[in-house]
Structures are given as structure tokens and as C-alpha cells.
Amino acid sequence: MTMAIRVFLLLFLVLSSSYTAFSLFEDQVGLMDWHQQYIGKVKHAVFHTQKAARKRVVVSTEENVVSSLDLRHGEIFWRHVLGPNDVIDQIDVALGKYVITLSSGGSILRAWNLPDGQMVWESTLLGSKASKPLLLIPPNLKIDKDNVMFVYGNGFVHAVSSIDGEVLWKKELASEGIDVQQLIYPDGSDTIYAVGLLGTSQFGAYLLDVRNGELLKYNSMVVPSGFSGDLSFVTDDTAVAMDSTGTSLVTVQFQDGLISFHQTHLSQLIQDFPGAAVISPSKIPGTFILRTENSVIFIEVINKGELKVVRELGHATAVSDGLSLPEGQQAFALVQHRDGKIFLTVKLGNDVWTSNLVEETIHLDNQRGTVHKVFINTYVRMDRSNGFRVLIVMEDHSLVLLQQGEIVWSREDGLASIVDVKAAELPVEKDGVSVAKVESNLFEWLKGHLLKLKGTLMIATADDVAAIQKMRLQSSGKSKMTRDRNGFRKLLIVLTRAGKLFALHTGDGRVVWSLLLNSLRKSETCQNPRGISLHQWQDPHHHALDQNPSVLIVGRCGHSLDSAGVLSIVDAYTGEERNHMGPIHSIAHIIPLSLTDSVEQRLHLLLDANRRAHLYPRTAEALGIFQRELGNIYWYSAEPDNGILRGHGVQKNCVLEVEDNFCFDTRDLWSIVFPSESEKIAATATRSLNEVVHTQAKVTADQEVMYKYTSKNLLFLATVSPKAVGPIGSVTPDESSLVVYVIDTVTGRILHRMTHHGSVGPVHAVFSENWVVYHYFNLRAHRYEMSVIEIYDQARAENKDVLKLVLGTHNLTSPITAYSRPEVFTKSQSYFFAHSLKTMAVTSTAKGITSKQVLLGTIGDQVLALDKRFVDPRRTVNPTQAEKEEGIIPLTDSLPIIPQSYVTHALKVEGIRGIVTVPTKLESTTLVFAYGVDLFFTRLAPSRTYDSLTEDFSYALLLITIVALVVAIFVTWVWSEKKELQEKWR
């Protein structure tokens, strides 16, 4: 019998030790989240390969990242994101151990330690007037044992010590009216030249002493034909520029204080000259590059400034800077792109066109477009000859390293500049491809679970733990290409600034397909294309299930609102472009309607700059559906510059020269004019179109019912005083105020208006269900604040009478029209909040039952989840017992920041710009995708996973428990039988 007790006790212990975990443990990192690091489109690259154990390349990018990459694998050694306002102008390496970056228009100079990326020093170079930033690091110039670099920025020439960043001397040149274009240090001398233009027709050269910045000599010369554009330096004493008419080239030579110029007409150089040409900056000695519409021309400067065309190449050619070889020669790389192949040639600079050092052909993915930039580096081969490796930046912003005719590595750095994100479902699992394949081996399955059991009982060895972790990471087919029951597996379709579309798998973040959109590539009809947004075009759920879902990509051909638009429809499963249109009418605003046609294509209304609405898809069926709903379509437009909010409606077909049934005139229905002297629109927020509200009523602790005002047409708008638009601290609290509005966008009713005195932006807001949460700065309290507004419907408040419900006199079923005067009341509350924010989002779940979390992209580039319960306007100081039961937290002054609620745990999403939440089929769970320079994806369960077992639930343990119980039952049964028998025999 004691045996039985022991067995029971053991079982009890086993069962009690298998507790459920609610927060993330260290070993769970990476199970359902992934993190990818990018750097963006590379602008400059400096190789550091000599005398270095680890070969690396230091790059600066358009996302203002300075980073050191491993040349062998393309991994990031270290990286710093300088932020959107700190544009990197130049980078270089000094002393062989510091990376020098010049940023913010030549006003901030920083040195980073090359091996580990620690900042060594930082200097702020002040000046008077913005100018072209220049950085010059002479390799072996020493002044008093100090290695010196020269910086030209904000109109001053600065000599800065490489060791500690101290400014040794500075000399203002901008006051003389010169626009310095180049700093030149003739090797071995102790003078530097600052060369530039005065006005449009005068060339000037200053000679400065490197020791103290004293002006030694000044020469200038007026060139009668004038200049247009920048000077291009061919050698240390020769510069080339276009003249003011753009038809001839001016070569300027300055030697020992003598300036001479020579003018060559373009038509003398080139037969059938196309008309427009630009000198493209390149540093190949003795040669410069002239780009015309369809060719790249290499022109050599021979003695006395005479020019000679040496070669003319096709348009899609990229050329690297010159590279000095150890033998004193110069080499440069030339990359041409034709039919998905890359032709790489490395040429010697001196006898340019006769021989090629390297000639390679490389096959490259078709979706990368043309080559934008080339950087060349040399290394010593096994046979002591020169080898070359080439880093190329492609049209889609990806970075590729080529060596020995092969792609060594490539990085998809276009993903650092995501414009918009949409989620798409994966295909349904077809018969034949069964789950059994993944878990084919029963033995393996059992072994896995036994391992997990071992882990749970803490008797696993280190090897076992590693095996468990590995198994977990690969577990449950999370990267399969089919839909799963819980809806966790999806495709994230992202549009990047380069005009490339990627589909990322939510399981592991890999790129499933990518497509460089032809409609978003530069062409004759579309000069400056850029993608604006992505929209769900077709998402079959009910019928037309044989069709693949697709997304609509909307782009624009220029920067202004009235430039022509382009549209493209892409299949979400395969990544093929189904259809594209453009250039078409301008696109100012895109409205996805709630209507779909028979194949579940969503109707979209595109508004152009002339306030005409265009209906897509352009089918008769869509038109029919639209005509029926014509009177019920309203939208608003905010004009931040004028301070006017307008409401619009559709009227009738446009009157155009060419009849267009899909074009409609619009009209203004209402307008709200904000007083220009006191209010300026700072932020707007609306509810997301596909948000589901589970319950319209809220039952309070005292059995009262409050009805949420869940109109989809609400707009939250915040205005700040025009003075307070600048950064925090530019105004006093008395001068600034923040006014928030809740506006019905159908009728233009201001449902709620509230003033926060002494508060300024930036305002971030989210609108969900019947509440708005917004974030701003309170100048009086010197702190950031978050406020909440909840809107409740008063009109339906009488419905709580049971008798009325029974008798049917309630108005629950009466149709709701926006034209009725809404009776709403609002509740609001403000809380202090310690962080400043970059972005804000809210979780969304399939049925809207799960409570919400506000996701905050903090200034530290992390994502913080804040329970909506904390920003509840009904929080009171001393909640009653009933209120506590309802879950009301006692009122506090500020919102708590709980370290465990960082969604990104230890990771950072550098330069975070947006957070997207996607509901899964499992009600408790939502997918979160945060993007910036980095990407981060995870799964969140705001109210914990109440509707499913955790993924690492040990089925083996359950099984063993059951088996053990059954055995125990048998054993005890046998015992009792025996005992009974014994008793009977007594």
C-alpha cells in the first residue's frame, strides 16, 4: 500500500512541476520571432583589407547608417544608425584604425574605432552658411606629430586632429563669396588648395598653409562662358565643368598660381550630339565621364586642357573610382548590365582601352535591376598578381560582392526602406502533401517529446538542451508554404522605396519571392517613380477560391501630388505581375471601398489632383455595384497647409472630352476651418477598415451598460499652435496648446473638442473601437503624456431597460444613419509617460474579443506593449471592490513601463518607422511586424493564449501521466483483490 502512496506522490510532483509559463524565457527567443538587420542603400564604401586580420568594408548608406561589413560573408560587424536628420556626407578611414564620418551638412565629424565600432571622438564644426561638405584625409601629413585631416563645411576650412578630434585651426572662406568644390593637398607639400567657384563665371583657388590656415595666395580668373553645375576634378590641377549654356566643356588648369582655361564645344567631340549631357563625378585620373541620354562617354584630358574621346559605351554602365595599385598604376572597374548578365571589366587607368586586367561575366538574379554603383578593391593573389573584388549596388538597393567571376555574397538591403506592408494568406494545403511527411517518423516524434520531458524534469544534459533548442527552432513546420490551422503562417508583402516587392514568410522571415516592378522603374514616360502604398486587391475567402490573392501597388511618377500615377497588380502567391497601368491620371488619395465584385476584387476609388474620382477595377460589374452605392460614399481630405478639413461625396460622371464611365465628379459637403493663427493640423488617425468590434456594450461594475460609439466614420485630429510646430523647447507653455477633435467624416460634425494648454507635438495617435490614445509633450510638466478619449453612445443608453427589450420598444434594430444627431459622451484621462515615441499601433485580433494592447515604437527603437487597461479613462484613485473585479487599475500619475512587456525583448529595430498588426485565425493571437532599418516579427497574445496549448506543451508527459495512472489503477486493483482474497481466506 505504501507503494501506491509513493506512486501517487511522485505523480503529483510530476504534475505540479509542469507549470505553464506566461512570459518569454531566454530559450524561447527566436521560437516565434525573427529579426533581420539591414543597412540600406550604400552611398560610400571604404575597404579595409590590408594588414587586417578580418577583411572588412566600411559603408555609409542612404538610411544614414555607418557600418562595417565582413568581406567574406557580408555580415555586419558593427553598425550605427545616425537618425533621419543626420545625413552622412563623407566617410573615410584615418590612421588605419578610425572610421571618420562627416555628417549633417559638414557640421558633425565623428571617429569610430574600426574593429568594434565604438565612438572615439566627436567634433561639432560650426559655421555660418551651408556649403558643400568636403572631407580630405591626407595619408601622411603630420603637423607636430599630429595626423591632420581637413574638413570644409558651413563655409569654413577646419584642420582637425585625427587623434582626438580637436580643431587645430579654422579659416572662413564663404565670406569671400566662394563656393568651395574641392580641397586638394599636393603630396609632400605643406599647403592645401581650396578650389571653387565665385558666382557663376569666376574660378578661384586659395592656397592655405597647413600649419595655421594662413592664406598664402589667392588666384582667380573670370571664365567668360560661365559655369553650370559643379566642377569635376580630373587630376590634382585640372578641373572640368560645363559652361553656362550646357553645350561646351571648360577645362581649367591651375598650376603654381597660374590659371588657364580651355573651351571645347561638345559637337567637336561627339558626332550627332544629343543635346543634354552631364558630367558624372568619378575619380579616374586623367579621364572624366560624360553621361548623355543613352550613352556614357569617357573623355581624356591631354596636355593643355585638350580633350579626346576615348570610348563611348551604352547607357547601363557604372564606373568605379580609380584605385591605386601597389605598382603605382591606377585601375578602375566598369560594370555593364545586359539581359540579366553582368559584364565586369577592370581596366588599367593609364593605357585605358587596350587591355583589360579582368573580364568576367556573372549571372545575376533578374529582379535586381541595373547597377547603380561600383566600388573596387584589390588583393594579392596566390601567384602574387593583383586580384580584384568589386562591390556593386543594384537598382533594388541590394549589395553584391563579386570576386573571381562569382557572387561571394549578396544582401537585400532594399528591405531597410519599406514603404508599406500588407499581409497575404498562403495557399491552402492540397491533398497529397500531408502533415505526416514532416512528422513521418513516429520514433523521432516520440524521441523529441522524451527530450522535452527530460528538459521539463531538468534532467537533460547540455547536449540534450542544445538538441531541444534546435528542434524547437525548426519545429512544427513553421516555415511551410501552406496555410496552417491557426493562421500563423502568412506572407508579408512589402514594398520598398526602390520599387521592389518582397514576400516574406512569417515563419522565418525568408524572402519567398521578389519582384522589381517595371512600372516603378525609371522610364521615359515616368521620370521619378516611387511607390506610395499597397492595397489588398483581391482576397478570395468565400467564392472565386480558385483565384490567387493579389495586391495593388500604387505609385507616382514624381514628387508632387499632380504627377501621373502608376498602378500594378501582383499575384501574392507567385509574385507575378498580372496587370499594370500607367502612367495614368494623378493619384492624390486612394480609398479602398467596402464593396467587392463577384470574384472578390475590391473596388477602389482613386482621387486625382483635380478632385475627380476614378473607379477601379474598370469593369461593367464594378461600375454597377458602385452606382448602387454611389450616395453612400463619403470621404474627407485634410489640407494641413491651409488648415482646412473637407468632406466630399461622389456626384455624377465627369464631363471630359473623352467619355469615361469610370470617372466621377465630386463635391464638397462640409468643411471645417481651423483658425490659422492658433491651430495647425499635426496628426490624424482613423480606425482601420478591417477592424472587428466584438461587443458594442460595456458592462460596468455596477451593472450599468455603456454603449460604445463604434461608428467607422470617426476621425481623430490634433492641431497645435503654429508657433509650436518646431522642436520641443522652441515655445513657452503659454504660447502653445494642443487641440484634439473627434469628427464624424460623413457630416463633418465635431463630436468632441478638447484643449490641452501648454502642450506641443509631435502627436502620435491610434484609433480603435471607440477609443483614441494619443501621445504628446506637456511643456508645463516637462514630460511626455498619453491621453485617452473614449466615446460612448448616449442615444442607445435607454436600451438597458429589460422591459423594453421584452416589449420590443427598444431601438436596437433601427437603422443607424449618420445624419441623425448623435448623442455621444466622452470620457478622457491623461497620464504621464516616460518615453518619446516614433510610431504607434494597436493589436488587432480576428474577432475582437481579446483585449487590446497599444504598441509603442519607442525612441530607443524598441516595441513596447502597453495594456489598454492602463490607459482607461475610468481608472479612479480608490476603485471599489466591484470595479477592481472588473479589472480597473487604481489611478496613477504616470503609466508604468514594465520591462517584460518589451515585445522586442533584447533586440532593437533600428530606425523604427512603422508597426503592422495582422490578426490570426486563433482569436487570442496577433502577428506583429515592426519595420525600420531592421525588421522584426513576432506573435503576441495580449490576453495570453487562452485558446490553445503552448507549442512546447509536452504531449509525452501527458501520455506518460495517463499510462502511469492506468498502471497505478491496475496495481492498486490487483492489490485490493489480493487483500480481499486474503481476508476471505482468513
Binding site: N642, G748, I750, T755, P815, T817, Y819, S820, R821, R986
Partner: protein, 298 residues
């Protein structure tokens, strides 16, 4: 002093509670009533043939408001039928008052509507038939009319003519002397299954309401005083849960098991126990049946 603060706090709290209660349960109504008394004046335009003149009580008020003629202000209401151009439809008049915080606010708003002309009536009927919009506009700045732009609002004509006469309701959102927006519509709901019947009486029942913005309610002293209390309270709370409250789910099964084990042990003890009484007496080899007599013996 120390006792004074909590008292102050609690009185504040009571006040606050009262305020919040007031706003929660009948916030909207009470707001409106207040304005009704002070700033709202329902101008009921007379029957159509008579020219648009304010009715007598209104004029009487205007007489005493005339004591300060400088602060009187008038601004026009203009209307349009569907896409037609705007034409004058009535006049608002009000008094400018300097409010406590220095800004100017509008009080004693009165409205008189012009009578509808025959053409207007025809237009209105057309609107009803076509289920089109009746649009109105106001200047956006009252001191330098019309300001930068007009403030527009529109409503389906059917919403206005739900009864015999035409009912309209203006809610004018103001900020100082600027008109931010005007909410125009029927005073109550707008029935959906529309009945396009023209009104029998061509006159407007007008209701007007001026709305100024609410200030954000926040009393820092109050909330800060609370913080200390609360912080302590939260810290004290956790130990309140007793040992039993925390571990009952383990303790009960454990108790059950123990009890079970005890009874088992008792039984076991009793089994040879028939023998163990052997300590009491000599008869040892009594079978199980002997138990009953043994009990009886006791």
C-alpha cells in the same frame, strides 16, 4: 497642516467624483441645458408671408443688449440647393463678451431666418425628389467676415422635412471669434426609409447651440498626492493573500491523499489489529469472522 492636506484632497476628490458622476450619467444633457439658459436662443421664424423679422421676445432681449452696441455682431447664413450657388438665408446675431481668460466669446446667439421664396420651395421639393443635399455655410471668422473660407455643412433634404414644418438644428463650434465648424441637421434622428413628402408648412423651426471647447480635466496636485498613498498601498497588498489562499489547490489534494493514506494505514493496522489486540489478550488465531464478536465485546 498634515491633516489639512488629506482633507483638501478628499474634498477635491468628492468634488471630482461629483463632477465625473455628473458628466458620466447625464453629461450631454446637462451641457445642453446650461447653454440653453445662457447662450441659446431659439429663433422661430414666422409664417412664410411675413418677412423675416425676429419675433417679439427676441427683440425685447435685443433692446437690452443694445446697451453695449459695440460688442454686437451679426453674421449671415447662406444656403444652397444641391449644386446651386449660395444665397442669403438668414442672419445670426450675438454679443461679444470678453471671457475670464481674456479671449472673446459669443453669447446670446439669436437667429432669424428669411422666408423661403417660391423658387426656394421649388428647389427644396426637387431636392426631396432627388434625395439631394441642402447645404448651408457660415463665415469662418466673425470679426473679418467671411474670414479665410466659409464653413460648409450639408444634410439630405429629407432629414429636415420629417414633420409638417421644417426642423433644423445648428451646433456652431467656436474658438474665440472663429467658427470652426457647423453641425447642421435635424434636431433628432433622420429616418432612413425615406418618405419624400414636401412639408405642409414652409417654415423653419430653428434651434441653435454654441459650443466652446472643453478644457482637459487634470488636477496635478490631486493626482500627485495620490501617488504616494497608492505606491504604499500596492506594496502592502501582496502579503495579504494568505498561505491557504495561494496553495489551496495543492493543499486539498495533498490532504485527501494523506487522509486516504491514513485510512489505509489504519485499515492495515487494524487488519493485523485483530491480532494486535493480541496485546490485550491471548486468543491469537481468530479468523476474520471473529471480528464481529470482538467488536461486540467492546
Amino acid at each position: 497642516m498634515a491633516a489639512g492636506i488629506p482633507q483638501l484632497v478628499s474634498s477635491f476628490f468628492l468634488l471630482y467624483l461629483f463632477l465625473t458622476l455628473a458628466t458620466t450619467s447625464f453629461a450631454f444633457k446637462s451641457d445642453e441645458l446650461l447653454l440653453d439658459d445662457d447662450e441659446f436662443e431659439g429663433g422661430r421664424s414666422p409664417d412664410p408671408p411675413v418677412a423675416a423679422r425676429p419675433v417679439t421676445p427676441v427683440r425685447k432681449r435685443s433692446a437690452d443688449s443694445g446697451s453695449d452696441p459695440d460688442s454686437k455682431i451679426q453674421f449671415p447664413l447662406e444656403h444652397a440647393f444641391g449644386n446651386s450657388d449660395f444665397s442669403p438665408a438668414g442672419t445670426f446675431s450675438a454679443r461679444l463678451k470678453t471671457s475670464s481668460n481674456g479671449g472673446q466669446i459669443l453669447t446670446k446667439l439669436r437667429f432669424s431666418r428669411n422666408a423661403l421664396s417660391q423658387a426656394d420651395k421649388e428647389n427644396f421639393k426637387k431636392l426631396l425628389e432627388g434625395d439631394d443635399f441642402y447645404r448651408i455655410r457660415l463665415p469662418s471668422n466673425l470679426l473679418s467676415q467671411p474670414g479665410r473660407e466659409y464653413v460648409i455643412s450639408s444634410v439630405k433634404a429629407r432629414c429636415l422635412s420629417q414633420r409638417d414644418a421644417l426642423d433644423e438644428h445648428f451646433v456652431i463650434n467656436m474658438d474665440g471669434v472663429n467658427v470652426l465648424g457647423v453641425n447642421y441637421g435635424p434636431p433628432g434622428s433622420c429616418q432612413y426609409p425615406r418618405i419624400p413628402k414636401p412639408p405642409t408648412k414652409w417654415s423653419f423651426n430653428s434651434h441653435t447651440l454654441l459650443k466652446y471647447s472643453n478644457e482637459v480635466l487634470r488636477t496635478p496636485v490631486f493626482t500627485e498626492a495620490v501617488l504616494g498613498e497608492n505606491g504604499e498601498g500596492e506594496e502592502v497588498k501582496p502579503p495579504e493573500r494568505s498561505f491557504w489562499a495561494k496553495y489551496w489547490m495543492y493543499l486539498i489534494p495533498l490532504g485527501l491523499i494523506l487522509m486516504n493514506a491514513m485510512t489505509q494505514a489504519m485499515n492495515m493496522a487494524e487488519e493485523p489489529g485483530n491480532g494486535q489486540p493480541g496485546a490485550q489478550g491471548p486468543p491469537q488465531a481468530i479468523s476474520g469472522r471473529g471480528q464481529a464478536p470482538a467488536v461486540r465485546r467492546r
